[in-house]
């Protein structure tokens, strides 16, 4: 790459393949939701095309990077690209945490008559503004509850604490991996990366177990505002841990291939930051859902 001012990419077919993959996925999903028999296989085909595109396109980028095609300008664009991705992620979780705070601090107390809503309790007699919200206003007239009153939140020192310890440990191991990479200690780097991935997978296993308990005890996505915010936040967090673990695995593969050195390892930095971010989101969940 001789031109230091700007990088003009070569022609490529991967964006077109990506578009076909996304379109096929959504055609399949829409039909699946209408119980059309071919919905699921078409969606599966679309996802397969998407995965194929990701391998192909990202593989091209990796090959271009290690062959020295990229200059400093391209390095800056990668960093900015990562920053916009992170911005969208922060906004994504900010919206969900915002929904949780709005429901807990404002809307549920208002329904119970807080602030200047003195007449609200007249509309739903017997409504109690509590958190977790056991009786939604809609349940009062029906004589039911949002979820089984036998349900108890999993003890904060049970699985949630084990999961927090696991994820924080993975934060420690990736920090050691980062240190090893900066010092050029290859074997230590690989060992710490394997430990980080293993802790992430273990976290997901325990999270599935916790969902099993919660569902068995009657807490569902349809269990009022408490059930929906609980599953929305923890579910999307779990999805992010899954994506993070996949990205860490790819980085581990690239480390073994010798793609990084102690000075040039932006892909590792991007994934490490993402993992720390997912870790902080969980810490926020642990504190605000189970403690405060």
């Amino acid at each position: 790459m001789s031109n230091q001012n700007y990088y003009i990419p070569h022609g490529t077919y991967w964006p077109v393949i990506g578009s076909i993959g996304i379109s096929t996925t959504f055609v399949g999903l829409a039909n699946l939701m209408h119980d059309v028999s071919w919905g699921a296989p078409v969606m599966g085909l679309g996802l397969t095309i998407l995965v194929f595109m990701l391998f192909g396109w990202l593989g091209t980028v990796v090959n271009e990077s290690i062959s020295g095609t990229y200059n400093k300008q391209v390095d800056r664009t990668f960093r900015w690209g990562m920053s916009w991705f992170i911005f969208s992620e922060v906004m994504f979780f900010a919206a969900f945490f915002g929904a949780l705070f709005y429901a807990r601090i404002l809307s549920v107390p208002w329904l119970g008559g807080a602030d200047n809503n003195i007449f609200t309790p007249e509309l739903w007699e017997g409504f109690k503004a509590t958190w977790p919200l056991v009786n939604t206003p809609g349940d009062i007239g029906q004589g039911g509850t949002a979820f089984s009153t036998n349900f108890k939140l999993v003890d904060a020192w049970g699985l949630p604490a084990i999961n927090t310890a696991l994820l924080l440990s993975s934060g420690v191991t990736i920090t050691y991996a980062h240190h090893a990479l900066r010092k050029g200690h290859r074997n230590a780097l690989i060992a710490w990366m394997i430990a980080t991935i293993a802790l992430g997978v273990l976290f997901l296993g325990f999270q599935i177990t916790e969902y099993g308990h919660a569902y068995h005890d009657g807490l569902k996505l349809t269990s009022g505002i408490y059930g929906s915010t609980f599953y929305l936040l923890t579910g999307f967090h779990g999805f992010h841990v899954t994506v993070g673990a996949i990205m860490l695995t790819v980085i581990l593969y690239r480390i073994q291939k010798g793609h990084f050195n102690s000075e040039n390892h932006f892909a590792f930095e991007g994934v490490a930051w993402y993992w720390h971010f997912v870790d902080v989101v969980w810490l926020g969940l642990f504190v605000f859902v189970y403690w405060i």
């Binding site: 960093r79 924080l168 980062h178 189970y290």
Partner: protein, 70 residues
Amino acid sequence: MDIIVIAIIIVILFSLGSALVGMLRGGKKGSDKMFKSLRARISLSVFLFVFLMFASFMGWIEPNNVLPTQ
């Protein structure tokens, strides 16, 4: 007690943000800043977890683990 926990979380978020700035800057300086900020972030997070365990053990803070109305 809630205020202390929230204050630690704000400092953790600040460290994470500082690491992001380092990563975006790049180069030797940016890389150093990123690593140091992430190290501070994980140290504070582990401290918060241990602090919560200790505060709970001492009875300073109670988890929301039981439904208030049965």
